[in-house]
């Protein structure tokens, strides 16, 4: 038994940081499971491959029916046309870009900070009202947003927040999904860890920042993806009317709305809007992985 143990640990050491592969694996199982992964992957990847290829297709290939997945004669015309149209806009495009960047960055950072700060006490302590708050948060996830739009609009207009970024930012800060996600992850953090930090004289905020946040990294990185994706594609909807405050995705959808002739530009725009959240997704997913190895509480 002891020998096996040592051998195992050695193996684990060697594997660490390279692969999660462990003992107890059978070859047939592997073959069946990975065939399944491959087939499902083909279906899932289709829309993204299509978007990427479409952006480089000349107009006659885009309008081909049924559409071909891969581009035959790749061209940068669509991007060229897109930049020409962007330069013709009467509000400079850099302004739209700034609006979107502002909303996306402040919204994502703020949401992660505010909801993690609230998720920690709700996950790890019992205090008067904590159970009720948790219940309200979970249940509000189940109410269809299709009918809360109008009450939300009334509240936002009463608070004089129409035509300001706050109309988008503050409701984002109150998103329940992120809070619920982090609350679930934080409930896994050992209570002993918090207790011993308290013995050392750390206050709640210090515990939050030094212990909880590093350990809940997979959870908040996941929230970063979700919020970023939401905010990046936000068009301002019914809350922002002022042209100068409109976000990028609104402006891009406007230059595309001019009939068939803009189909090529539309394909380029779709790719442009996809690239940024996709990059954020890849970066944060690379960091979700192996958090435990770097967090230093494995023992």
């Amino acid at each position: 038994m002891k020998k096996l143990n040592l051998k195992f640990l050695k193996r684990e050491k060697k594997m660490k940081g390279k692969s999660g592969k462990r003992l107890n694996r059978s070859l047939y199982g592997d073959i069946i499971l990975f065939t399944f992964l491959f087939i499902f992957g083909l279906f899932s990847a289709w829309p993204m491959i299509f978007v990427i290829n479409n952006a480089f297709k000349p107009l006659n290939e885009i309008l081909l029916f049924p559409p071909k997945l891969f581009v035959k004669n790749p061209t940068f015309d669509n991007f060229r046309d897109m930049f020409v149209l962007m330069n013709n806009s009467w509000v400079p495009f850099s302004r739209y870009l700034f609006n979107t960047l502002f909303i996306t960055i402040v919204g994502t950072v703020g949401s992660v900070f505010i909801s993690s700060l609230a998720a920690f006490p709700l996950a790890k302590y019992n205090f008067p009202g904590s159970k009720l708050m948790s219940k309200m948060i979970v249940y509000s996830l189940m109410f269809s947003s299709a009918v809360t739009g109008i009450p939300s609009y009334i509240i936002i207009s009463r608070l004089q927040m129409l035509d300001t970024f706050w109309a988008i930012l503050i409701p984002t800060f109150g998103t329940t999904l992120g809070l619920y996600l982090m609350q679930n992850f934080m409930s896994q953090i050992p209570t002993d860890l918090i207790e011993s930090a308290k013995m050392d004289g750390a206050g709640e905020f210090k515990i939050y920042w030094k212990i909880i946040m590093p350990l809940a990294r997979p959870a908040w990185l996941t929230l970063v993806i979700l919020q970023f994706q939401n905010l990046w594609g936000n068009t301002g909807g019914t809350y922002i009317y002022e042209e100068k405050l409109k976000p990028l995705s609104y402006a891009l959808s406007q230059i595309v709305n001019a009939g068939v002739a803009r189909t090529g530009v539309a394909a380029a725009v779709t790719l442009l809007m996809l690239v940024v959240p996709l990059s954020v997704f890849i970066i944060s997913q690379s960091n979700v992985i192996e958090t435990m190895a770097t967090s230093g509480i494995k023992e």
Binding site: L4, S19, G20, R22, N24, G29, F36, L37, F40, G41, F43, S44, A45, W46, P47, M48, F50, V51, F65, P66, L117, A118, F127, S130, M133, M136, V138, Y139, S140, M142, V147, T148, I150, P151, S152, I156, L159, P171, F173, G174, T175, L177, L179, L181, N184, F185, G203, E204, Y208, P218, A219, T222, T270, M273, L274, S286, I289, E290, M292, K298
Partner: protein, 309 residues
């Protein structure tokens, strides 16, 4: 005298107050979120529930009508019954299957080396991020000879005439289920991946010594119990997505769909809320859907408590 007063047992209210004062840092931490949540999530929900007892057309001030909307909805609206039936069929099939799918795929990906693992996560999450998710399915089930499904079936000699997939009441719901399953790798999938990364590796070592022989035992006795919070979270996400199937139906089968074959509670709600501007009725539909999900959630949470036992 003061001694005596201090020894007197505190009343319930005093204990509560003392408790609140003791925990004031926690309230301070929760406050910014709760303020935003209360104003922009909780209050709109409460207002919508109040609107469900009124007759609100968005132009005139709402009239209070009591339970009329609910009575009409549950006893007089035949189409709502079809919507309930379809929603339950879709939820009972896609809910559990996509939950398992999310878990199994996350679990398989977790075994891989890092670049491949990130790559596959991107691939599986792609439909949620690339924005044209329905296009492939519209091409497959297109009603003419060019539709992939039709052309393959005709080439194989199984059918001789193209099938109008999305206009045929017999096929619509199954196509919606298929598309919904394919779309299911969203938030729960990501939380499972993150959760699997959080499982303490030393538990596997200990398990190997304790005589765990294959990956299925390892899954049931170590992995699953270690990620119960993520399983609970995924279940709630699954419930909210599988009971609220709407845009899939509208995109694929239109609104209304042929013989209401793709009509769900949510499309019924969108029909009344966005097309007919009967917000009172639409809010009543939302409240019924809400209660259905809460009930489903209670059942699922009970089942999940058994994991790993």
């Amino acid at each position: 005298m003061e001694q005596v007063a201090n020894n007197k047992p505190l009343t319930k209210r005093q204990i509560l107050w003392k408790n609140i004062k003791l925990n004031k840092t926690k309230y301070l931490m929760v406050a910014p979120f709760m303020l935003c949540f209360f104003l922009f999530t909780f209050l709109p929900v409460v207002l919508a529930m109040i609107i469900s007892f009124t007759n609100f057309n968005m132009l005139e001030w709402p009239d209070f009508v009591g339970f009329t909307n609910y009575i009409n909805l549950l006893f007089k609206d035949d189409i709502f019954l079809i919507a309930i039936k379809n929603t339950l069929i879709i939820a009972f099939i896609t809910g559990p299957i996509s939950y398992l799918l999310c878990f199994v795929l996350a679990w398989l990906i977790n075994e891989l080396k890092k670049p491949l693992r990130v790559f596959l996560t991107v691939v599986f999450y792609a439909p949620s991020i690339s924005g044209n998710a329905y296009l492939i399915w519209k091409l497959i089930f297109s009603s003419d000879l060019y539709g992939y499904a039709n052309s393959i079936l005709i080439d194989m000699g199984i059918i001789s005439e193209p099938i109008l997939w999305l206009a045929n009441a017999n096929y619509i719901i199954w196509i919606l289920i298929l598309v919904q399953l394919w779309l299911s790798l969203g938030v729960s999938f990501l939380s499972f991946i993150a959760g699997l990364q959080n499982v303490d590796r030393t538990l596997y070592e200990a398990g190997a010594i304790d005589g765990i022989r294959n990956r299925w035992q390892e899954l049931w006795y170590i992995t699953l119990p270690s990620m119960k919070p993520q399983l609970l979270f995924g279940a709630v996400m699954q419930i909210t997505s599988s009971f609220a199937v709407g845009s899939v139906s509208i995109e694929m089968a239109g609104l209304p769909s042929t013989e209401y074959a793709g009509h769900t509670i949510l499309t019924h709600l969108i029909d009344y809320g966005s097309t007919r501007y009967e917000m009172g009725y639409a809010s009543a539909i939302a409240t019924v859907l809400f209660l259905t999900m809460i009930f489903a959630n209670l059942v699922v949470q009970k089942l999940l408590r058994r994991v790993g036992n």
